[in-house]
Subunit: 241 residues, 2 copies
Amino acid sequence: MRKIDVCLSPDLIELYNLSGKVVVVVDILRATSCMTTGIAHGVNSIKPVATLAECQELQFKGYTAAAERNGKKVDGFDLGNSPFDYMDEELRGKDIAVTTTNGTLAITKSMDAEQVIIGSFLNFSAIINYLKRIKHDVVVHCAGWKGKVNMEDSLYAGAVVDALNGQMDYACDAPKIVHSLYLQAKGNMLDFMQNSSHAKRLTKLSIQRDFEYCLKFDEFKNIPVLKGDHLMKMGISDMLI
Amino acid sequence: MRKIDVCLSPDLIELYNLSGKVVVVVDILRATSCMTTGIAHGVNSIKPVATLAECQELQFKGYTAAAERNGKKVDGFDLGNSPFDYMDEELRGKDIAVTTTNGTLAITKSMDAEQVIIGSFLNFSAIINYLKRIKHDVVVHCAGWKGKVNMEDSLYAGAVVDALNGQMDYACDAPKIVHSLYLQAKGNMLDFMQNSSHAKRLTKLSIQRDFEYCLKFDEFKNIPVLKGDHLMKMGISDMLI
């Protein structure tokens, strides 16, 4: 049987052998929710970069530049890290460069994988259907918060493990831990997450609207996939067999 | 209110500020269960060391030497990592040097704390009563398995969070995650843990007896505490106020 594993923090990803595997990177609040939203709204490509300097350099080269640090948009950039920023009609066909506190790091640290895809609740069933179809082992890579584990990404990982239950073996204890967490939370996920530390940080920043949006299931059917160093909408030719 | 935090792996402990805090190190299967058992059976001191070479050097200097790697006793050492090894009458008053795959690393990485104490289910209530009495913030430091999170240490952390519920705030999301896990597992903890990856490793090694023993609550009332670089039985003068 195929295996599913969960990495709760980018600071632990070096312990995982990603070779030949499909990695689902998740940063529910809010990087991967933004990426899913942007690609669904016709953005051509999204290039994740580690530093503000790299992001600014790409801005000079014509990219739309998105930068967030500690939950806030950085001055001088075009977009922040709200999914509503990514719905703008003017972004259709554009190339975006993005740097965020956690999510972009999780992506760049996943590059040894056979394929890196972007997960969020917004494209949940699309991800699950794809994972059911392929033959590869899977690692859900949670972006966390500055290296620490967080509630929302752990819950997402648990939801993925739950949806694939019976079809994949746990590769270590982390999938079982997040699965158990999800089973406890799924009836009242909003309440459960509203007490999380990052939700509290976001509430302080008055972005409750983002928070509720990022918890919606299945708004979109697309999967952003990493091609070279850009995320693009997965097409038929990108699908593993 | 005081804060409780949980670090799920020694590979994440650098993210935690341990200064002024009490750290409970836990490696249920089996290092901290062994340490609790040994100190309760009259062992004078236990010195955790990182390498087999250091452990052997101390053996030459007269220490009783205990060494485990990948779940097995290492040839040439006096003791392995079974709690039953630590019940021997002949160990009374002796000094032990110990090196294990995970537990000793978690201890040596906790040394910035105000105080490091050794937790296990075997001395659960003693630990909880002590933590209730002091004024310090608390970090439960799970030894995990080679850097990855594991079930049994996460469950122990969840049990500690549960026992202190209402008296301490969560410092981040990890305490809430393990608390939720524990609430799901506590009715059938043995079943829950028997499916864990480390339990499976131990079962392969025919040490089911150790596994059942390490899940017993409150066999002992003592708390091993780190004094300099040795663990010793906590006395009244060691108690923080």
